[in-house]
Amino acid sequence: MSMVSKGLTLSIMVLLLAAVLTPITFALDQEQPEVVLRLFWGKGCPHCAKEKEFLKHLEESDKYPGLRIIEHEVYHNESNQELFKLLADAYGKRVEGVPTTFIGDSVIVGYGDYMNTGKKIESKIEECIHQGGCKDPLERIQQGETPQTNQSSNNGGVVTLPIIGTLDTTKVSLPAFTIIIAALDSFNPCAFFVLLFLLSMLIHARSRGRMLIIGGTYVFFSGLIYFVFMAAWLNIFILAGNLKIITLLAGAIAVFIALINIKEFFFFKKGISLTIPESAKPKLFKRMREMLKASSLASMLVATVVLAVSANVYELLCTAGFPMVFTRILTLHQLSKLGYYLYLVLYNVIYVIPLFIIVLLFTLTLGAKKLTKEQGEALKLVSGLMMLGLGALLLLKPEALNNVFVAIILLGSAVLVSALLILAKRIISRKVKKNG
């Protein structure tokens, strides 16, 4: 296992280095199939102006080199009006207003903003690319094809909830999903392992100030390393694009990791285990003790940063699942580069909150606490079950993950099943002990 874990650690570090150094503005060099979009607009229509600006920006960004946009002004051009009616009839739509966008089998009426309609148009473009391109809607009709219409409006997934009222799920799903996954990821025995021992050792020094500074520094750099790791995954997935095979691979890896974590609950450290390697423990603890002996606060801080880097690299082995799954799901949403990174920041802020709380509790109480074997097993079980659900959805129905309620149901189920299994295990253990 030692050789395997060394190999894995080295692979992760190479992956990290390669992917982080790859500029995110790298444009996909491969040839993209042609996607033709026809826009019907009116001079003076403000919504039309917004969509034209969006499409112009899309063309200039060169994100979709195969995209061809054909625009028709209809307020002052009768032939364009006839063309509009022709296409609308073929697509089974009434001419309702402008802007109206025809792409593939879809008709999108109106334009609100990027987060709503802009994203929808981009996802249609992506869909076309995956299908090998979308012909000019007019050409299709002239060749006698009948579009399989898929009516879209520029309203997102608006739902009405009791008490809360109207909720646009497209606006809350991804932030809520991020918070749920990050929170679950943060309750990770590997993430707690080194921090708890570090703080226990600091109690020995009996200085609240030092504990707060050192503990806080460790947690901050842990979050930073995690962010860099997730940025690496993000770059990889963006380069790979929205290819289905990549989603399937991510799902398969997630399921594999999930099964290992679930196995830990039943057969702790037997067979493959995603934990900090045993060979790494003496070195980590030695670093912690040397850090305590540092002559000044400054040197102690430097030693803390070094400890955070080395500990978190080891911890990546057992915390790889959620970051990978989350960044894959993130890249299935059409966001700007800044948007992706902001979500990573949100994820990591949520991720470090429990760690900061632990630091505060230790500082306030000066009491040492350790995670028991049973608590560690339970956490692995919950996260394993949740990851199993996420992995399965990535394999079978990734679009379901756009709905935050799916994540909530998954989490609830994982907690419930875990509680039942833990209870069953305790009952069986007691019976075995009783029978001798």
């Binding site: 021992f197 020995h204 045993e278 423990k281 003496p282 603890f285 030695k286 040492a368 350790k370």
Partner: protein, 130 residues
């Protein structure tokens, strides 16, 4: 079972030995136990001056292969702890009989009658592992 336990010490069934020096005893861990769990990396020592009861946790430890705590073989006041072990827990692997963990002033000397001698402890150990 190749491991021998030193004569002259007393043992409980939780991997701990006791060396009697009048009213004060030294408490440590056995070599078979230290060998089985591999290198110790962390030790949470008991608190000097604290009262401890037989059967209560007196030390928590983390090793490469094990994590847990041990039960005290005696009751009394902890008069001294071996702080060197905090800085170098692996001393317990090097010579567990030289590096005691705590010194306890006994509350009730009769408690020692409940402990095992080396032969009894070895038989106990062999039975469990065999």
């Amino acid at each position: 079972m190749d491991e021998e336990l030193p004569k002259g010490l007393l043992y409980n069934d939780n991997h701990s030995w006791v060396k009697v020096n009048g009213d004060v005893v030294e408490v440590g861990i056995t070599k078979p136990f230290a060998n089985s769990v591999k290198e110790f990396v962390y030790i949470e020592l008991p608190e000097q001056g604290k009262e401890i009861k037989k059967g209560e946790t007196y030390v928590s430890m983390e090793s490469v292969k094990w994590s847990g705590h041990l039960e005290s073989p005696v009751s009394g006041e902890i008069v001294e702890v071996n702080n060197a072990l905090f800085d170098e827990p692996s001393l317990l692997n090097q010579d567990p009989y030289k590096h005691w963990i705590m010194r306890v002033k006994l509350l009730d000397k009769d408690e020692l009658n409940g402990l095992m001698d080396a032969d009894q402890a070895l038989a106990n150990l062999s039975c469990k592992l065999g």
